[in-house]
Symmetry: C2
Subunit: 413 residues, 2 copies
C-alpha cells in the first residue's frame, strides 16, 4: 500500500538528480520545486525574495495568503519527509551565486529568477533599467557559473512566448528556416518585444545562444505562455504550501483579473478591442514541462527552444470562458471594454507551434476544465481579501517616464 | 576667396543644427565632432573618457599620440574659430545625462558612447557584464532622455555589422521579408552575435525598435562595418587634433594590426584560415555617413536601419592588400597563420547589402587607395611607438572566465 501525503502518487524518477531552482519562491518556481522534490529530485531553491519586496513597495498582495519561504520549506519537510535546501541571495551578486553553485553542484539549473512583469518594467526608467539589468546580468552570471564551475550542468531557462511578439506568420519553436534570394538558412526566429520585460528575455535568449556555441553550454529555452491556476498536488497538501495568485494591475494577468472580477461581481475589464491572442497553460503543466526538460536534457552546445503552452486564446475568448464557467457557480458576469494602457496590436494573426513538449510526453490540462477547480473556487474562497483598487490598469505604456514611481503607481491612481 | 583652415572647404549645411555626440572623445566620435563642427553644426561632446581608462588599466596605447579632450577642443577653437562644448560624464548616470540633455537641447543625438571591443568584452565575467550593462543601460537612458526631455530629437545610434553574424543568406539592411507557410511579414533581421560586445548591440537595436513603436522615437540605427584610417581633413589640421589608432590585440582590428606589423617588419598574423569576411569603411566615410543621417532624419516612430560600410574583404584579402601596398613603400610583408582565439566561422558565405547610404549621396573611399595615405604612412611615421607585445591575441573566447583579469590580460601573456 502507498504512503499517504503529497509524494504518494509521485514517481521516484528524480533519483537524486540535483536541481537548482532559481526563483524557487515565485509562482512557477515554488510549484516546480515541490513537484520535483516530491519525485525524488534533490532540490535547492535560490531566491532573493525581490518579488515579495515589489509587493511591499507597491502595496500589492497575492489573493491567496502565502507563507514565508522558510515556513514553506519547513512545512514541506514535515508533510513529505523531503528536504529542500535554501539559498537566499541575488544571482546578480557573483560572490553569492558562485558559492551557491559550488556548494550545491547542480546537475540542472532551472532559472525562473527574473523580474517577470511587463507593466512593472514600464512603471518608470528606474524599473525599466532594473528589469533589464536584473534579468540580463543574472542570466549572464548563471552562464558563467555553468561554464566555470559545472560545465556539464544543463540550463533550463524560462523565456516567454512574448519574445516573438505578434508576427503575421506562424511562430515556430525558436528557429525559422528562411529561403532568401535562392539561399537557405535556419536562423533564430526574429523577436519583437512589447515591454522592457519582454525585451530582457529576448536579450537572454540571444546571449544564451552565443554561449552554447562558444562554450558548449547545454541549454533549454522554454518560451512559456501565460500560466494560470493555483492548484498543484503538492501546493495543496497544506495551507502553508499554497501558491501565490496575483490579480493586481501590475503582476496579475488578464485571466487572473477576470476571475477575481467575476468572483466579486465586477465587470471584466477588457483592454481595448480584446483581440490580443496569446498562448496559455495550467501551472500543473508548467511543473510537468520542467520535469520533461530535466529528464530529457539538451546536449552540450545545443540551445533547444520549446514553446511551452497548451492552448491559444484571445482576451475576448478568456472573458467568454470566465463568464460561462462563472455562471455555473451562480456568478453574474459582464464585460466592459476599457482603454488599452499598452501599445500592442489588438487584432492580429496568431498561430504558434507547440508540439515538442507534447512529443516528449506532456498531457495538457485545458483551461475550460481548470477554470472552476483551480481558478474560480480560489477567487470565491478568498474574495474578502480582494482589493478592487489594485485591479485597475496601473501603468500606461505611453507614459512610462523618468519620474520615480514607487507606491504611487499602484495605489494612488 | 575662401578662408584658410579646416573649415575652409566645409559647406555650412549645419546652420546651427544642434548635435550631441556621445562618445565624442573616441575614434569615430572625435572625427565626427570635428567634421560636423567644421560644417556649421552646433556640437556638444558627451564622454566619460572610459576608453582612455581602459588603455591605462590594460597597459595599452594608441599608435598616434592623442591630446586630452580638453586640449583637443581648445585647439579646435583656435584653428577653426568653432566652439565645441564638452560634458564629461557617464550616460549610465541618469542625473548627468538628463542635465546634459536639458542644457544642450539636441536636435540630434549621435550615440557612439559604448564599450566597443569584442575581445575586451571576452576578457572576464566582470568585463562581459560591464560591456552589456554600460551599453544597454546607456542606450536605455538616451531613449528615456529623448522621450521625456526632447521627443522630437532624432537618435543616430551606432550599431555594428557584427550584429548579423555570418548567416548563409544575404544580409539585408535591418529587416527581412519572410514568406512562411504561405504568409508574409517583414521582420527584424535575425541576429547572432559572436561576443558579449556584439550581443550588447543586438540588445540595443531590439530595445530601440520597441521605443520607436511605443513612444514614436525617431531613430537611425547604423550597422557600421570595421572602420579604418587616421586621416580626416579636420583631425589633420593640427597635431593636437590627431585621431587615435588602435593596433593592440584588444582594441585593434585585424587590418590595423596588419598595417603596424607591415611597418615594423613583423609577419601579418592571420587568425585561423583567414576566410572571415566583413564590411569595411574609411573613417572619412563614417563622418560623411553620420552627416547624411543627420541631414535626412528618420520620421517620428521610424526605426531606420542602414548598413554603413563600403567594401567587403576577407582577412586574407586584407593581408594581400597590405602586402601589395606595403611593398610600394619598400616594406617586406609576409603572412603567418596563427591559432584563432575567437569562436567564429573561418570560411562562410557573406553578402551584405549597403545601398541606402549611397542612395543618400555617400561617395565611398576605397581601401586600396587609402592604404598608403591614411594607414601605412602613419604606421611608418610612428613606428618607434609600436610595442609588439601588445599585438598578440590577448583574449581567448573559450577561456573567458570569472577570474578578474586587469593588466594581466594584455601585458603578461
Ligand atoms: N507566470 C507566467 O505566466 C509566466 C509566463 C511566461 C514566462 N514566465 C517566466 O517564468 C519565470 C517565473 O515566473 P513567475 O510568474 O514564477 O515569476 P515570480 O515573480 O513569481 O517568480 C520569480 C522569482 O524570482 C526571484 N528573483 C527575481 N530576480 C532574482 C534575482 N536577481 N536573484 C534571485 N532571485 C530572483 C523573485 O524573488 C521571485 O521569487 C520568469 O522568468 C518569467 O519570466 C512566467
Ligand atoms: N571602430 C569601429 O570599427 C566600429 C565598427 C562598428 C561599430 N562601431 C561603433 O561605433 C561606436 C564608436 O566606436 P569607436 O571605435 O569610436 O569606439 P571608441 O571606444 O574609440 O569610442 C567610444 C567612446 O565612448 C565613450 N563611452 C563609452 N561608454 C560611455 C558611457 N557610459 N558614457 C559616456 N561615454 C562613454 C568612450 O570613452 C569613448 O571615448 C561604438 O558604438 C562602436 O560599437 C565602431
Amino acid at each position: 500500500e502507498k504512503p499517504a501525503g503529497p509524494t504518494a502518487t509521485a514517481s521516484s524518477g528524480g533519483a537524486g538528480t540535483r536541481v537548482m531552482i532559481i526563483g524557487g519562491d515565485g509562482y512557477c518556481g515554488w510549484a516546480t520545486a515541490l513537484h520535483l522534490s516530491a519525485r525524488g529530485y534533490e532540490v535547492c531553491i535560490v531566491d532573493n525574495l525581490c518579488r515579495r519586496q515589489f509587493d511591499l513597495t507597491l502595496g500589492l498582495d497575492t489573493l491567496t495568503p502565502i507563507a514565508t519561504i522558510h515556513d514553506r520549506v519547513r512545512k514541506w519537510a514535515e508533510v513529505s519527509g523531503k528536504y529542500i535546501s535554501l539559498q537566499i541571495g541575488d544571482i546578480c551578486d557573483w560572490e553569492f551565486l558562485s558559492q551557491a553553485f559550488t556548494s550545491f553542484q547542480p546537475d540542472h539549473v532551472v532559472h525562473f529568477g527574473e523580474q517577470r512583469s511587463a507593466p512593472y518594467s514600464m512603471i518608470d526608467r528606474q524599473k525599466a533599467v532594473f528589469t533589464q539589468t536584473n534579468n540580463v546580468v543574472g542570466t549572464l552570471n548563471v552562464l558563467f557559473a555553468i561554464k566555470e564551475l559545472k560545465p556539464d550542468c544543463h540550463l533550463v531557462k524560462l523565456g516567454t512566448m512574448g519574445e516573438y511578439g505578434t508576427p503575421n506568420i506562424d511562430i515556430e519553436e525558436g528557429y525559422l528556416t528562411v529561403t532568401h534570394n535562392g539561399r537557405t538558412d535556419t536562423l533564430p526566429y526574429p523577436k519583437q518585444g512589447n515591454s522592457f520585460y519582454h525585451l530582457s528575455k529576448i536579450h537572454d535568449s540571444t546571449n544564451m545562444l552565443f554561449t552554447c556555441k562558444a562554450w558548449k553550454v547545454a541549454a533549454t529555452d522554454l518560451n512559456q505562455g501565460v500560466v494560470y491556476g493555483v492548484r498543484t498536488e503538492e501546493t495543496m497538501a497544506d495551507p502553508l504550501l499554497i501558491n501565490r495568485y496575483d490579480y493586481d494591475g501590475i503582476f496579475g494577468t488578464a485571466l487572473n483579473r477576470f476571475v477575481v472580477q467575476a468572483a466579486v461581481g465586477h465587470p471584466l475589464t477588457v483592454y481595448g478591442k480584446g483581440g490580443q491572442t496569446r498562448g496559455f497553460l495550467d501551472i500543473r503543466d508548467t511543473v510537468r514541462c520542467i520535469q520533461i526538460a530535466v529528464d530529457n536534457p539538451a546536449a552540450r552546445g545545443e540551445m533547444r527552444v520549446y514553446n511551452q503552452f497548451t492552448e491559444q486564446f484571445s482576451v475576448n475568448q478568456l472573458a467568454e470562458i470566465v463568464g460561462r464557467e462563472g455562471r455555473k457557480l451562480g456568478l453574474d458576469v459582464v464585460v466592459q471594454n476599457v482603454p488599452n494602457p499598452r501599445v500592442e496590436a489588438e487584432e492580429h494573426y496568431y498561430n504558434a507551434k507547440h508540439t515538442k513538449l507534447v512529443e516528449l510526453g506532456l498531457q495538457p490540462h485545458l483551461l475550460a476544465d481548470s477554470m472552476i477547480d483551480s481558478l474560480l473556487e480560489f477567487a470565491v474562497q478568498y474574495r474578502d481579501r480582494v482589493r478592487m483598487e489594485l485591479i485597475k490598469p496601473a501603468v500606461d505604456w505611453r507614459k512610462t517616464g523618468v519620474k520615480v514611481n514607487t507606491m504611487g503607481a499602484a495605489v494612488a491612481k
